[in-house]
């Protein structure tokens, strides 16, 4: 479907004047004590109102900024017209996880960041509209499972996170017989173990989107640790898969290497979030324990740090975020930082831990930190923090959560001869996911290092195309 919206200039002016429709959220004081979703999303009326703000640009820059190139003005126009099924169909062509992306994408630096309305005022709330359409489709049982006739070729996908699900969905639509192998007991990858319930409801959103992928005929085998239970080679040689896509993410936590890091009470953000999200430690009906004590210090400034901090808060702790640069450099989404502040999380900026302090029994009692100041910009363009001499001070805390980023698990690469990795342990792959090993493709965090859900999805989709041409050319 090709859509052109003819807008007259006076109409454009009028659209400019409607303010962005605010989204309803749980009250910060209430939500700080529960795990229910923070943002309620738009209702139909709000969504249509917000959709009416879109200028329908002839050369939409929003699409160019979307890693999966969703036809944004088209779906927004359908929303404005009240054709929600059509809007869902337009999104479904390019994204298999819209309810997820509408919630967790960094829209401010992608689609919304390039919206013309944002130049003078506020951009169209593209993310909230995407979420509305996806939620509406779910609530109304609208599902898109059109696919080509089966072609008899088997493709194995390693990892059921965003990259793997996107790759699997595209291949299945194209007629491939797709099996996803997941190491954990629940599919979803980081959507399941990493992002908390209050930002991404598991039962309602993650499970539904995984089911949507399953409804395309994709099989998911959980509890299969590739590199241990099976290998990439055994999948190809013994199980008859024509190609393998590695979308195993970046799951290995980093620690600082400072004294006291193995004291009881120091955990990686991965451990903390996995206990709470995948294992549901916050729910008394589940068996897995989690420990927060009275005070929690979270080290780091990314989305994962915000998630860990806001989780600790909901478990009843007083929470401090310790970050070595300033608020401007925080890598987390603006919305998450805003929510964290609203909920009462204390931010200690320009602060870097130098030692974890403990008592005679080996439990954490505090965090010795040093004040930092910003120096020259580093390779990433961010000004690198340098310690201020003699500025050490202690923060009292019972738990320290290290949220310093993650790197890919070397397990698959180390058990797959001929698969090239770089010095960050990332699998080397080109823009189409082609690796150094024939028939083996890779995409998402395992290639780039920890990034976003949507970039992983984009990589999964590109690899699906490359796998299709690889198999057809054989």
């Amino acid at each position: 479907m090709k859509l052109t919206i003819n807008v007259k200039s006076d109409y454009t002016d009028m659209r400019n004047k409607i303010p962005r429709v605010p989204v309803r959220e749980q009250d910060p004081a209430v939500r700080a004590k529960n795990f229910e979703e923070v943002c309620y999303g738009y209702n139909a009326e709000e969504a249509q109102m917000e959709a009416s703000r879109c200028l329908g640009c002839k050369k939409p820059s929003c699409i160019a900024q979307c890693p999966v190139s969703i036809q944004i003005p088209q779906f927004i126009y359908a929303v404005e017209q009240g054709n929600f099924t059509e809007a869902a169909a337009i999104i479904a062509k390019d994204s298999s996880l819209p309810a997820v992306c509408g919630r967790v994408c960094p829209q401010e630096s992608q689609c919304e960041g390039s919206c013309i309305l944002g130049v003078k005022g506020e951009p169209v709330a593209i993310g909230k509209l995407e979420r509305f359409v996806a939620d509406w489709a779910r609530e109304n049982g609208v599902r898109f499972s059109d696919k080509k006739e089966a072609n008899g070729h088997k493709v194995a996908i390693i990892g059921s996170g965003p990259a793997g699900l996107a790759c699997a969905a595209d291949l299945a639509k194209n007629g491939y017989d797709v099996t996803i192998f997941e190491a954990l007991h629940e599919p979803g990858g980081v959507l399941q173990y990493g992002i908390p319930e209050f930002r991404l409801p598991k039962e309602l959103v993650v499970r539904t989107e995984v089911e949507n992928v399953r409804s395309l005929g994709v099989k998911i085998e959980t509890n299969v640790v590739v590199g241990r239970t099976v290998t990439v080679d055994s999948l190809i040689e013994d199980e008859g898969f024509s190609a393998v896509f590695i979308g195993s993410g970046a799951g290995l936590p980093k620690f600082m290497g400072i004294p006291g890091e193995n004291l009881n009470g120091v955990v990686s953000a991965n451990e903390f979030l996995t206990r709470n999200n995948l294992m549901r430690a916050y729910d008394p009906d589940y068996d897995t324990p989690i420990y927060v004590g009275k005070r929690v210090a979270v080290v780091g400034g990314g989305n994962v740090a915000m998630d860990a901090a806001r989780t600790a808060l909901r478990l009843g702790a007083e929470v401090t975020i310790v970050y070595r640069r300033t608020e401007k450099e925080l890598p987390a989404r603006v919305e998450e930082v805003h929510h964290a502040k609203q909920e009462g999380i204390d931010f200690k900026m320009l602060t870097n831990p130098v030692e974890v302090l403990g008592n005679e029994k080996g439990w954490v009692t505090g965090l010795k930190c040093i004040k930092m100041e910003l120096g020259e910009p580093d390779e990433s363009g961010r000004r690198s923090p340098v310690p201020v001499p003699d500025s050490e001070f202690d923060i009292e805390t019972d738990v320290v959560v290290m949220s310093l980023g993650t790197s890919p698990n070397p397990l698959i690469a180390s058990t797959t001869p001929g698969l090239e990795t770089n010095r960050w342990k990332c699998v080397v792959a080109d823009d189409n996911g082609v690796t150094s090993k024939a028939g083996v493709f890779a995409g998402g965090d395992v290639v780039t290092g920890a990034a976003t859900v949507i970039l992983a999805m984009g990589a999964g989709r590109k690899a699906a195309e490359a796998i299709d041409s690889y198999i057809k050319s054989k």
């Binding site: 007991h185 241990r228 193995n262 009470g265 991965n270 451990e271 068996d287 698990n409 397990l411």
Partner: protein, 283 residues
């Protein structure tokens, strides 16, 4: 789902289960472990692989009741299924990389404490099949808690049994038995100790003066068991290692046992509460 095809109570608190898990059975090696969940709200519990049958497609585990989660496992019956059964995980024992000629010229000593006898079994079985000489010390609290005696006897050269209370075998701890063997002039190319952390610590201290090469298998806390969480961090040779992917077996003399024991206690208070809750549920 992973069906329990055989269940046997080895002692009043120890249960053996043979589980249908063809993929795992196909790739399991001595020294590796697995992660099990008894039900869909349960914890992920790491257990050492006790045996595997590639043809039958089954993997055997042995569990001892120590808390709520292990009690749930032991309450499952033949015909029931585990919700999850993932693995094999961790590095296989280093000796599997040696060929049968090398192994047939080697002498091994295994020191097994309590439930640790179960993971020792597949290692001894492997080495015996490769022609290695293997002696085994099994230590148990008392005669009733002794497991795998007959199985072990049929595959090792010398079996030494000791019990804390003297109700069977020699009265005393495995460390005393180890000392006695070493003092009697026995020599081994490699020793392996598996049991409670405190036992492994004292076996290490006992073995050190004899320069006995010693490996231990660490049963740390874990969540995912694949390198994701770092709950299993141990200091080995002054460096932080993950027991789940770097281990579970390490050079005993490099392990900081005191830290490892302390880290095992991280959730102890919370576990006691969970156990209590579970008991209320059962009565």
């Amino acid at each position: 789902m992973y069906k329990i095809i055989k269940k046997a109570d080895l002692t009043p608190i120890t249960t053996l289960m043979e589980v249908d898990a063809p993929r795992m059975a196909h790739s399991a090696q001595p020294g590796q472990f697995l992660i099990v969940r008894a039900h869909d709200k349960g914890e992920r519990i790491p257990l050492t692989i006790c045996d595997f049958d590639r043809e039958k497609g089954s993997v055997t585990i042995v569990t001892q009741v120590v808390g709520a989660s292990s009690r749930q496992i032991c309450h499952l019956n033949e015909g029931d299924s585990f919700t999850d059964f993932a693995g094999p995980l961790g590095q296989p024992s280093e000796f599997i990389h040696k060929n049968s000629k090398e192994l047939s010229e080697m002498k091994f000593l295994f020191i097994a404490g309590g439930l640790g006898t179960a993971p020792v079994y597949p290692q001894v079985k492997f080495l015996h099949s490769m022609g290695a000489k293997v002696d085994v010390i099994i230590g148990a609290k008392n005669k009733d808690l002794l497991i795998f005696e007959n199985e072990m006897r049929s595959i090792c050269d010398n079996l030494y049994i000791c019990t804390d209370d003297g109700s069977y075998g020699k009265k005393g701890l495995v460390t005393e038995m180890l000392k006695e063997l070493m003092d009697s002039g026995k020599t081994y190319d490699q020793a392996v100790a598996i049991g409670p952390m405190i036992m492994m610590k004292f076996v290490t201290l006992t073995a050190k003066p004899y320069n006995l090469p010693l490996i231990v298998s660490l049963n740390t806390l874990m969540v995912d068991g694949t390198g994701m969480c770092g709950a299993c961090r141990v200091s080995v040779g002054g460096k932080t290692k993950f027991a789940c992917v770097d281990g579970p077996e390490f050079d005993a003399y490099q392990v900081d046992f005191d830290e490892a024991m302390r880290r095992q206690m991280m959730y102890k208070n919370i576990e006691v509460e969970a156990d209590h809750k579970c008991k209320i549920g059962l009565h």
